[in-house]
């Protein structure tokens, strides 16, 4: 599940929750899913690690990514 998927789903959940006609049971289920999605999105956001790298082509044509001296 990508970060983008999580955010899109969260938006849909919030919208559904804001709908007055949603049965309470469904609202609770959606809320629980929303909390799980929020956690997953927050985790994947925090997981990133800032780096500046360089794509290097080896003699055999394979591509590798190496850190650049900064």
């Amino acid at each position: 599940m990508s970060f983008e998927d999580d955010l899109a789903r969260l938006d849909a959940i919030a919208r559904a929750l804001e709908n007055d006609r949603l049965p309470l049971d469904d609202a609770l289920k959606l809320f629980e899913e929303g909390v799980a999605r929020l956690r997953s999105a927050t985790q994947s956001l925090a997981a990133a690690e800032g780096r500046v790298q360089q794509l290097v082509e080896q003699a055999d044509g394979t591509l590798t990514v190496k850190d650049r001296p900064k």
Partner: protein, 415 residues
């Protein structure tokens, strides 16, 4: 030029020996004449042509000349031949194949151009030409011509179609940058991108961004980008420079490689005023490399704030929903009791109505109106003549009490 080929039959090896066949006696000559001063020191054609080349090529510095193009021919070996002329003279010119790479487009017949070059002697023919290394038509004509020609080709293939532009990803993790690894453009992109998101990952795909090898290197870098497949968005960038320095980004091959990129691609070439073919085919054109980084990288703090906002939204929506459920329940209960009460009231009203009907049917009511009820001592109502027995006592109930009575005489209605 073959007709100009002369017999090389200068008297070889004449030296100091007498010329037996001379019609006239040989002139007095120095014992050691300089080359070419006497028949016996005559130069070879090659040597003389070499002298000419050395004189011509060595004595004039490269310079600019202007004139009108005539007799243009692009030879299949890649060299361009033509002449420049004005009202009084013609100058034969050549652009060697390697130098044509630096000229945006071949000049048209009759075009006024300025050309930079130097005299060059083609020794095999003692042929003097002006060898041009740079040329342009008045008013940037050739640059514009090359640009428009490539642009038309790209347009024909639908590569400039706005409908083909891809949106940039909202939350990229990896930004690929095709540029010179030592350039100012990369420096600007890295500093802007990391300021916006300290956790963004930037992968540089190095390529020369100016000079003759630049187009091929940029194309190769873009192919590597697609082959690698690890980027969410790409920036093709170069800092400001002269038109010639930026020209690689007007190369049709480069533009096609940008258009073929697997990921949404931002073009950021030169300054705001410079619009390159890459800018036209890219998904997004940024005015500068810094602007490209801004377009590619969202501000991390904004994303985090957005997540908190979503969390609050979920919470308040659920709270509201629960509150509403509670108030619904209360209202339902109230409504229920209201209805129950109404039912009771209905029942009561019905009972009253029924009561008054019963009341109306009660014999007491009849007595009120002056009637009397006769009852025997065993309590049964005496309602017909036959039930009265002569001389027998009975009770007569009237409005306000009972009266003892005795039947004296029976009289049938019929009798």
């Amino acid at each position: 030029m073959t007709e100009r080929r002369r017999d090389r039959g200068a008297p070889h090896g004449a030296g100091d020996s007498p010329d037996l066949f001379a019609a006239t006696p040989p002139r007095a000559r120095k014992p050691s004449a300089d080359p070419g001063e006497a028949p016996d020191t005559a130069l070879t054609v090659s040597t003389l042509a070499g002298y000419l080349a050395a004189i011509v090529e060595g004595s004039t510095a490269p310079l600019w000349v202007r004139g009108e193009v005539t007799g243009f021919k692009a030879h299949r070996n890649g060299h361009w031949y033509f002449a420049l002329r004005d009202a009084h003279a013609q100058l034969r010119c050549v652009v060697w194949a390697r130098d044509t790479q630096r000229v945006p487009a071949p000049p048209d017949e009759g075009m006024q151009i300025t050309a930079f070059g130097r005299f060059s002697v083609y020794a095999a023919r003692t042929d003097v030409r002006f060898a041009i290394t740079r040329l342009d038509a008045a008013g940037d004509g050739l640059w514009r011509k090359a640009f428009e020609r490539a642009r038309a080709n790209l347009e024909k293939d639908g590569l400039l179609d706005p409908a083909g532009k891809r949106p940039l990803p909202s939350y990229p993790r990896v930004i690929a940058v095709v540029t010179s690894p030592d350039g100012a453009a990369l420096h600007d992109i890295v500093s802007v991108a990391t300021r916006r998101d300290p956790k963004i990952r930037i992968v540089v795909i190095p390529a020369a961004v100016q000079g003759e090898s630049a187009p091929a290197q940029i194309v190769a870098a873009l192919r590597r980008l697609s082959r690698w497949g690890g980027a969410d968005v790409a920036i093709v960038a170069r800092g400001g420079g002269s038109r010639e320095e930026l020209w690689a980004f007007n190369d049709e091959r480069v533009a096609r490689a940008v258009a073929a990129s697997d990921v949404p691609t931002i073009s950021a070439i030169g300054h705001e005023v410079d619009v390159s073919l890459c800018d036209l085919v890219a998904d997004v054109r940024a005015a500068t490399p810094s602007a490209a980084a801004e377009a590619a990288v969202p501000v991390r703090a904004d994303i985090e704030a957005g997540l908190s906002r979503t969390a609050r939204r979920l919470r308040s929506a659920l709270t509201y929903r629960a509150e509403r459920a509670r108030s619904d329940l209360t209202r339902n209960a109230r409504e229920l009791s209201l209805r129950a009460r109404r039912v009771v009231e209905l029942r009561r009203a019905w009972l009253t109505a029924v009561g008054s009907t019963i009341d109306a049917l009660s014999p007491m009511k009849t007595l009120q109106r002056g009637y009397a009820v006769a009852r025997s001592d065993d309590g049964s109502t005496l309602s017909s003549v036959g039930e009265f027995i002569a001389g027998r006592e009975f009770t007569l109930t009237v409005r306000d009490g009972d009266v003892r009575a005795r039947s004296v005489e029976r009289k049938d209605d019929a009798s």
